[in-house]
């Protein structure tokens, strides 16, 4: 144990020692919860960005510059995020990462827009890696905002695509949190199902208050008695875990298609009960076929950060895309990098990804996976992990959604 940690430290110091060779430092700020109840969510992503940056630096950095990612704890509070944003900008950061909470992302988009308008020459770019409200790349779209995660409608498109292929699913139950996001998920599901499989009956459309329910058993019993063949939910955090625990406990045995089934602890809390019950949609899972380099990365991550699992593949995508854009632009300044990023395509471990120019929404293939006991990499330090389901690969075009964005670009 001690030996391993020292070895990592030695590696870390050697990276530090090399830093003298860089021309300059590109400062990037990671603004997300790093303490409090949502702390683990932020930390799982933060560690991914740290590792990605280390790899880039070890390969000579970006245009000869070293990348430095600094964490700023926003306590998942929009106002505190703005304070942290000011601190980050003061510290010289010109690139901001954030993902936890659409309210925070909305506040940051607004704040970055205003900052850039009020402080020309000191522009800041916001890389959104997980806030999935569709509006951010539609009516609220901004030149200064790039999203690397598929937004809610895209994920829903993947889910409904998969359902459409399954003739045994005749009825669907929708359950979600009673606020903008949950409502948006429910209406997207309704619309898309009507279009792709008009014969499917929506037997329930339940909204429960956000983060208030302690026992989901009554909801599960409603689902069971409705006779639904599948359940779709956008729940996250405790609402997601408690829902799934209650489902397993009460013998619900239909697929639960989730956005956030991959959140930490969900699989282990269900145990074997999660097999064939919990499904998720993501841009990649560790048990997809990939090259050895990717496997090495997954293993390195697990070794470095034993509390977490390799989950934020898009963090590595975002960094890779940034480096490529900076190289094409021949600069690390925000505006040229942002312009180079528009329409840029990268090849990552699980396929291609393109940053659509019209709305700065990353287009990528999506995967539906479920909990399985026959996997290469488990999660939560147990044997169970995520395995691709049959017909679970949704290609880029199928997931693609139209945009209403009318972007204003600086000249």
């Amino acid at each position: 144990m001690t030996f391993r940690k020292t070895a990592i430290l030695a590696a870390a110091t050697s990276v530090m020692a090399m830093s003298a060779a860089y021309a300059d430092t590109v400062k990037m700020a990671f603004i997300d919860p790093l303490s409090g109840p949502m702390g683990p969510s932020g930390e799982a992503a933060y560690t991914s960005f740290i590792l990605a940056a280390e790899h880039i630096n070890a390969n000579g950095g970006v245009n000869g510059n070293e990348i430095e990612v600094t964490g700023y704890d926003n306590k998942i509070n929009p106002k505190e995020s703005l304070v942290q944003l000011q601190k980050a900008i003061d510290d010289g950061a010109r690139y901001i990462f954030q993902g936890n909470g659409s309210s925070v992302a909305a506040a940051l988009i607004e704040a970055v827009n205003k900052h850039n308008a009020r402080n020309p020459g000191e522009e800041v770019i916001f890389f959104n890696y997980a806030a999935v409200t569709p509006a951010f790349t539609n009516e609220l779209c901004s030149f200064w905002h790039f999203r690397f995660d598929a937004h809610a409608d895209m994920k829903m498109a993947a889910i409904t695509d998969w359902i459409a292929k399954r003739d045994d699913i005749k009825s669907v139950y929708l359950i979600g949190q009673d606020y903008v996001f949950g409502q948006a998920v429910a209406s997207a599901a309704e619309e898309q199902l009507k279009e792709k499989r008009p014969d499917i009956e929506i037997v329930g459309n339940e909204l429960h208050p956000l983060a208030k329910v302690k026992d989901f058993t009554p909801y599960i019993q409603k689902i069971i008695s409705s006779g639904a063949d599948a359940v779709i939910t956008g729940n996250w955090g405790a609402d997601m875990q408690l829902l799934m625990k209650a489902a397993a406990e009460n013998g619900s045995d239909v697929p639960y298609l989730t956005f956030y089934g991959g959140s930490k602890g969900a699989v282990s809390s269900l145990g074997e009960g999660g097999v064939g019950l919990l499904y998720q949609v993501t841009e990649g899972i560790t048990n997809l076929d990939a090259d050895d380099e990717q496997y090495a990365l997954i293993e390195e991550y697990k070794e470095r950060f034993p509390d977490y699992d390799y989950y934020y593949h898009r963090a590595f995508n975002a960094m890779e895309m940034f480096v490529k854009a900076a190289e094409e632009a021949g600069s690390v300044d925000p505006i040229p990098v942002a312009k180079a990023m528009e329409g840029l395509t990268i090849d990552h471990a699980y396929g291609q990804a393109t940053m659509r120019a019209e709305d700065h929404q990353m287009q990528q293939p999506l995967f539906i996976s479920t909990v399985s006991d026959d996997v290469k990499y488990g999660v939560d330090n147990i044997e169970l992990g995520w395995a691709l389901v049959e017909g679970g690969t949704i290609d880029m075009a199928s997931a693609e959604q139209p945009t209403t964005c009318e972007m204003e670009r600086p000249e």
């Binding site: 940690k5 990592i8 790093l34 505190e80 703005l82 304070v83 909305a106 009020r118 208050p209 950060f305």
Partner: protein, 419 residues
């Protein structure tokens, strides 16, 4: 009897100047001097938050310290006032009705109105009782309003909240409110107004009566006042000033989200006021400044900042119930007393003891946090390599803690011996 004899009972005008006018002159001088030092943007950002929290904490102390009402839902009035101000900001932008002519600079007045209105409506049933009943009602109301915030999107904007743009409408004092140093004057102005207003309130008959009701509600009844009415009126004002702070926050952040109404900020304002010292007018000001700083800066140094916050709070509750202000004024009193030498000796021994215990605590917490994370990170203060396997860590921890406890013990034994 002549007027002069009557006046003799009141403090002299020199005293009045020293105790009442001078502090405000000093405050104004500080506020004017700050921008001259060329502070950074971060400084401004945190100073603005402090300004808002100072007003918010003082408004909370109107009911806790001066009114004796413990509330777990004060953020409701901050939030509702702030929401109204953000909406007003939107109306200014759209130039709806007469709003087009309303300067953004005066939005805190709208916040005040919103907070006071919410206080008037919610306070009506809840201030009929004091004590624990009031505390419980405030908790229930806060939960209800917070839940409602997610149901009524048109006013609360759901999870994303409502945002606005402060660079609209009529400009006041040549401030566009765009750049952060423009906003500084806005915050400084309203913080000054808020402090002055709430201080003046303590000098009104109602303000004094509020303290009388806190101390002895029964007696107040028998000299002809209705304690419920006193509590209700004070509650409305506290709501109003909380709303004023909300209005300041609305202009500063240009966004309001339902989080602002939740139990978290309500608990935080309680901690700010109590840590600062609820028995003193300046207490909440000190508490707001310290805790805002801790919230924004301490979290950069340690992820266990909430643990330190909890510790600080418990230590204050257990050992210094009069808060930071009590410590400061206690020191000043002791310093002026006849037995200055003995007092200073005991005071500084306690201070040194507390400091040593703090070092012990920090070592324990920081080493534990890193060990618990398991990333192999090591706590390295002043170039020391304090891992959890290093004996030096535990020697330092033990020495600091034991020495700290011993020093505090002796200091207090001396004190008791002297008394």
């Amino acid at each position: 009897m002549t007027d002069t004899t009557v006046q003799d009972l009141a403090p002299s005008s020199a005293q009045k100047f020293r105790q009442r006018t001078l502090p405000f002159l000093i405050l104004a001088a500080i506020l004017v001097a700050i921008p001259m030092t060329g502070p950074s943007r971060t400084f401004y950002t945190i100073a603005h938050q402090m300004g808002i929290n100072v007003v918010f904490a003082l408004s909370y102390n109107m009911i806790l310290g001066k009114g004796g009402l413990l509330s777990f839902g004060h953020a409701v009035y901050f939030g509702l006032g702030g929401y109204l101000a953000v909406h007003a900001m939107g109306w200014i932008e759209e130039e709806a009705g007469l709003w087009g002519a309303f300067p953004v600079f005066f939005l805190p007045i709208v916040g005040f109105a919103g907070g006071a209105l919410a206080g008037a409506i919610i306070g009506w049933p809840s201030t009929r009782k004091a004590g624990t009943t009031f505390a419980m009602i405030s908790l229930g109301v806060a939960e209800l309003i917070f839940a409602a915030a997610f149901m009524f999107d048109s006013f609360f904007g759901g999870e994303q909240g409502i945002s606005g743009d402060r660079m609209n409408g009529t400009q006041m004092f040549g401030l566009s409110l765009g750049p952060i140093d423009d906003v500084y004057w806005f915050i400084a102005f309203w913080m000054f107004v808020g402090i002055l207003g709430m201080w003046a309130f303590t000098r009104t008959p109602l303000g004094r009566l509020s303290e009388a009701t806190r101390d002895n509600a029964q007696r107040v009844q028998f000299i002809g006042y209705n304690p419920q009415k006193v509590r209700y009126l004070v509650f409305i004002f506290a709501g109003g000033f909380a709303g004023l702070a909300g209005g300041m926050a609305a202009v500063n952040y240009e966004i309001f989200t339902p989080d602002a109404l939740s139990l978290v900020p309500s608990g935080f304002v309680l901690i700010m006021a109590y840590v600062g010292g609820i028995a003193y007018f300046v207490g909440p000001i000190m508490g707001a400044i310290l805790l805002t700083y801790m919230q924004s800066m301490l979290s950069d140094f340690t992820e266990a900042w909430l643990l330190y916050l909890g510790m600080l709070f418990i230590v204050i509750v257990m050992f210094a119930p009069r808060g930071l202000a009590g410590i400061v004024f206690g020191f000043l009193d002791g310093f002026r007393s006849d037995d200055r030498g003995a007092f200073l000796k005991s005071w500084f021994t306690t201070l040194a003891g507390g400091f040593l215990m703090l070092i012990g605590l920090i070592i324990l917490v920081e080493v534990s946090v890193r060990w618990s994370n398991g990333y192999g990170e090591v706590y390295e203060p002043f170039g020391m390599h304090l891992s959890h396997t290093n004996p030096l860590t535990w020697i330092l921890f033990l020495v600091a803690t034991v020495a700290g406890i011993a020093l505090t013990y002796f200091a207090n034994r001396d004190k008791e011996g002297a008394a």
